[in-house]
């Protein structure tokens, strides 16, 4: 047997493999001269693809690199990178988060084309606005009707109802430190009830809570799967799950619900400002509104809004008068207080 011949062949094969590797490794990077926007967002994952497709139909030269996480996390990421920002746009996140970023001087004011058509609640009152919203989402109680019957849980109609002992261990809500839904809910309670009463309310609610989740979607998903029958979440997630056949009732409590604008702003450090402006302009065009309207019924341009199936119909009138500036100013204090009181029950990753 001729071993050296074999080793030679192995040798050659290896050389080919190495060469192939080096070629693949080095040929991956920059292929196009197109602009790529890095967009930090808290929009739902399923919205991103349709939004991107619709945008690129009009601007095929602008690519989008989405970085998606829950509101709390993506905000923390923007704040953590403040010395060396990586994002071009801070997009589809709560107005509160944008105001926090703005207070550190991270945003560039910009008035997108067609601004005058917007509902004034959906834009920063300053001129030019530091942030502009596209739509709004509101809190909701996801209530699993099958499990409720099994455990004899009456359907709650108010926030107050949730503190009744019968619900002990059956409730879940998102942790406001990581979830935008969690924060807007807590912020709404504080604004509606007054601070003292609201903290007392949350103390009672805490007794009934099975767990605080990391994301705002999870409570509704857990309710839908019957894992925890009642979850405080947001209407979009509930409607989606109902469409999939989840046995859910979506309840808008009588006292009123917290809500947030999905707002966007351009990062001051962006090196692609022109493309970023184009994206901001496009975001409030009818084409974009149509994409958003597939998911949410409450739009920044009320003239274009159509109802969305499975959404509770009374959300619009139950939306509280929300003071975003107050929420942004007090955000840190509220979250700190909340964490001190309730974090023991938080799910890993709070």
């Amino acid at each position: 047997m001729n071993t050296s011949c074999i080793s030679l062949r192995i040798h050659k094969a290896l050389a080919v493999v190495v060469a192939a590797f080096l070629v693949t490794v080095f040929s991956i990077p920059p292929a196009a001269a197109d602009t790529t926007l890095t967009v930090y967002t808290a929009l739902e994952a399923e919205e991103l693809r349709p939004l991107q497709d619709a945008f690129q139909k009009e601007h095929p030269d602008i690519k989008i690199n989405w970085v998606r996480d829950s509101t709390g996390i993506i905000t923390a990421k923007v704040l953590a990178e403040k010395a060396n920002p990586k994002a071009d746009l801070f997009y589809g996140t709560s107005a509160t988060s944008l105001l926090v970023a703005d207070s550190l001087g991270l945003l560039t004011p910009y008035a997108p084309k067609g601004l005058d058509k917007l509902d004034p609640r959906f834009r920063d009152p300053r001129n030019p606005p530091h942030w502009v919203g596209v739509d709004a989402y509101a809190a909701v109680i996801c209530y699993n009707t099958i499990e409720a019957k099994k455990f004899n849980l009456p359907q709650p109609t108010t926030w107050k109802d949730l503190t009744k002992p019968v619900y002990k261990g059956y409730l879940v809500m998102p942790n406001p430190n990581s979830s935008g839904t969690g924060f807007l809910t807590v912020s709404a309670w504080l604004q509606m009830m007054g601070e003292k009463a609201a903290w007392k309310y949350m103390n009672q609610l805490h007794q009934n809570m099975a767990v605080y989740t990391h994301s705002g979607s999870k409570p509704c998903r857990l309710a839908a799967a019957g894992e925890h029958p009642i979850g405080i979440s947001f209407a979009f997630r509930g409607a989606k799950l109902k469409q999939k056949g989840a046995p859910l009732a979506l309840i808008t409590p009588e006292e009123g619900v917290g809500w947030e604008v999905e707002a966007s702003g351009i990062m001051k450090a962006s090196k692609n400002k022109e493309a970023a402006m184009k994206f901001m302009d496009w975001s409030i065009t009818p084409a974009a509104m149509k994409v958003f309207n597939d998911y949410l019924p409450i739009l920044a341009r009320p003239d274009l809004a159509k109802p969305v199936k499975h959404f509770p119909e009374d959300t619009q009138e139950k939306m509280i008068k929300n003071d975003f500036a107050w929420a942004a100013e007090n955000r840190k204090r509220i979250l700190g207080e909340w964490q001190k009181r309730y974090d023991v029950k938080s799910e890993p990753k709070s």
């Binding site: 080793s7 060396n84 999870k218 799967a225 019957g226 056949g245 989840a246 890993p348």
Partner: protein, 579 residues
């Protein structure tokens, strides 16, 4: 005359040939590599734990804050508790299993051996997800828990036991496989009972194996992140705390503190393990008689039943995730569909993440085997530089004592520092490859050393005296002979790169999301069925690659390892030399 004088002077000490110098250079390069990818990041982590958010040195203030927060301190207790309980359970179960594989005459041994290794192919998130489906509030068989909650220590321990089982079975099978039959004959002659024989012969002979298994189980138990993250509920452990501090609250300093605290028990275990292994002496001598298990119908039947039960549980846990990934809407609509595999509509990066994971696996396997085998070659086959080779050996063993979470966080501190010239690697696939190689460096290094030690040093000496350059010896002899070991290293790195979550969870960037991290993120959003689906994709992929590896190794064995078979050598010797 002068020439002769020089020659004489150098001949007193063996001269450093050009080969030696080249290999010396290689040693330096390897040393610098390991220094940069292991030691420097750890130093960055340590110093971060003594700084405030603005980078000012504040002494032990962070540690004082840590010990002043009861919720955080309780995690340390939880972690040790989980580690000890998991260790006791898994080593006991694995010992009996390994005992059946080596000391009984039950049928289907090969099959049972294969099944025991299956959990290696899955991320540790998978058993936790399966347990939610089995024992959650809507679980298939939650009645079996008698009202206890799966969310918490029970769930963590079961998930970890599943995931750690193969590692302990492998160690214990090796320990039990070699035994001196003479001792057992003596025991029978002395009329020692079976039980007594077990405690006086079997256990002492395998104590090092059992200890190794304990150390491995304990270390994996306290450092794993996937299982407690998914099924831990309120039961906080250190690894999850690190994640919570860093990803949830962007409190990097506290993350560093918790990392250092987690490092303590792991390093202590590591040191004890090293000391114990050093005392190990050969059990088998030239005069030993290998123990052949004798058929015993009752015993073999019991062992067969035991192994069947364990195998059923292992396969069952895997099957639950596989099944759940096809369910349309658990628990209300049990019709089957592929909806959960539509990853593009979900969090975590979609199918791109899966592609990235495969790329990471391939690159890690390729560059990892190259670097690690090269490093082991330099340590084992270089002459001279004794002290330096020792240092390199130490650096190569060290990663075993560094939990993935800790290494990942250390990498952020080290590579995200704008002053670091390697900063450009941050958020690229490159840093993920480097981190994965560093994280899993030790086991392949030891595999490579074992393979290299089988080659007599005389090959090198003869080549040197014949003035054959070392790289020729390497490519003609060393490399082909060690090829099966190199492939083993590659597959080990590939599978670990596919399944790991802990180290990479801090390091992925927008363009480098990974499948295992996607499992984690989807579970976080409550998308548990798609999480199960992605976890199964990882299992299918690693299983396929593993099977390919077996086929490839068989082929290679026939072509390059023929010299190991006696008859071939005899044939070759008997034949006239080829012209």
């Amino acid at each position: 005359m002068a020439d002769i004088a020089v020659a004489r002077a150098t001949s007193l000490r063996p001269a450093l040939s050009r080969d030696d110098l080249v290999r010396g250079g290689g040693l330096v390069v390897m040393g610098v590599f390991l220094f940069v990818v292991v030691l420097l990041p750890l130093y960055a982590l340590l110093s971060k734990s003594f700084e405030d958010a603005d980078g000012k040195f504040i002494g032990f203030a962070n540690y004082i804050e840590y010990f002043g927060t009861p919720a955080l301190v309780s995690s340390a207790g939880h972690t040790i508790f989980i580690g000890v309980v998991t260790m006791v359970i898994v080593v006991t179960l694995a010992f009996i299993y390994a005992y059946a594989l080596t000391r009984s005459c039950m049928p289907f041994k090969g099959l049972f051996r294969g099944i025991a290794l299956i959990p290696i192919l899955a991320p540790s998130l998978l058993p936790a997800i399966s347990l939610v489906y089995l024992f959650g509030n809507q679980g298939m068989i939650k009645e079996l828990l008698f009202g206890y909650k799966i969310y918490g220590p029970i769930g963590i321990v079961i998930a970890l036991a599943f995931w750690i089982f193969p590692h302990t079975v492998m160690l214990l099978t090796t320990a039990l496989a070699t035994a001196d039959a003479r001792l057992y004959e003596a025991a029978i002659a002395l009329r020692a009972s079976k039980l007594r024989t077990f405690f006086t012969v079997t256990l002492p002979a395998t104590k090092y194996g059992v200890m190794s298994a304990c150390f491995v189980a304990f270390t994996y138990g306290i450092t794993d992140f996937g299982a407690p993250k998914v099924i831990g509920g309120w039961y906080n452990v250190l690894s999850v705390d690190i994640y919570k501090q860093v990803v949830g609250q962007w409190n990097f300093q506290m993350g560093a503190v918790v990392s250092v605290i987690l490092l303590f028990p792991v390093v202590i275990t590591f040191i004890v393990d090293r000391l114990v292994q050093r005392r190990q002496v050969a059990q088998i001598t030239a005069r030993s008689v290998p123990l052949e298990p004798k058929p015993n119908r009752r015993f073999d039947l019991i062992m067969l039943i035991y192994c069947s039960v364990i195998a059923f549980i292992l396969l069952g846990i895997l099957a639950v995730s596989a099944y759940a990934s096809f369910i349309k809407f658990w628990p209300y609509n049990l019709s089957l569909s592929l909806d959960n595999y539509q990853f593009q509509y979900m969090d975590g990066g979609g199918w791109d993440a899966y592609g990235n994971s495969i790329l990471l696996g391939v690159l890690t396997a390729f560059f990892g085997s190259l670097i690690i085998f090269g490093g082991a070659y330099l340590v084992e086959k270089s002459r001279h530089y004794g002290k330096y080779r020792g240092t390199l050996q130490f650096l190569a063993i060290l990663p075993l004592a560094v939990p993935g979470m800790v290494l990942g966080l250390a990498y952020i501190f080290f590579f995200n520092d704008p002053a670091n010239p390697l900063n450009f690697l941050y958020q690229t696939l490159g840093i993920l490859v480097i981190c994965t190689i560093a994280h899993y460096y030790t086991v392949p290094h030891l595999t490579a050393l074992t393979a290299l030690k089988q080659l007599d040093a005389e090959f090198e000496d003869v080549s040197a005296s014949l003035k054959v350059p070392f790289y020729k010896t390497f490519s003609r002899v060393t490399f082909p002979v060690c090829l099966p070991a190199i492939l083993d290293i590659g597959i080990y790195l590939f599978i670990n790169a596919m399944t790991t979550v802990s180290a990479v969870v801090f390091l992925w960037g927008p363009a480098t999301k990974l499948a295992s991290v996607a499992v984690l993120n989807m579970d976080d959003q409550g998308d548990i069925a798609p999480a199960a689906a992605m976890a199964m994709m990882i299992v299918y992929t690693s299983a396929t690659v593993r099977i390919l590896h077996i086929v490839l190794t068989r082929g290679l064995q026939r072509r390059t390892q023929a010299w190991r078979r006696r008859e071939v050598i005899a044939e070759t010797v008997g034949q006239p030399a080829p012209t």
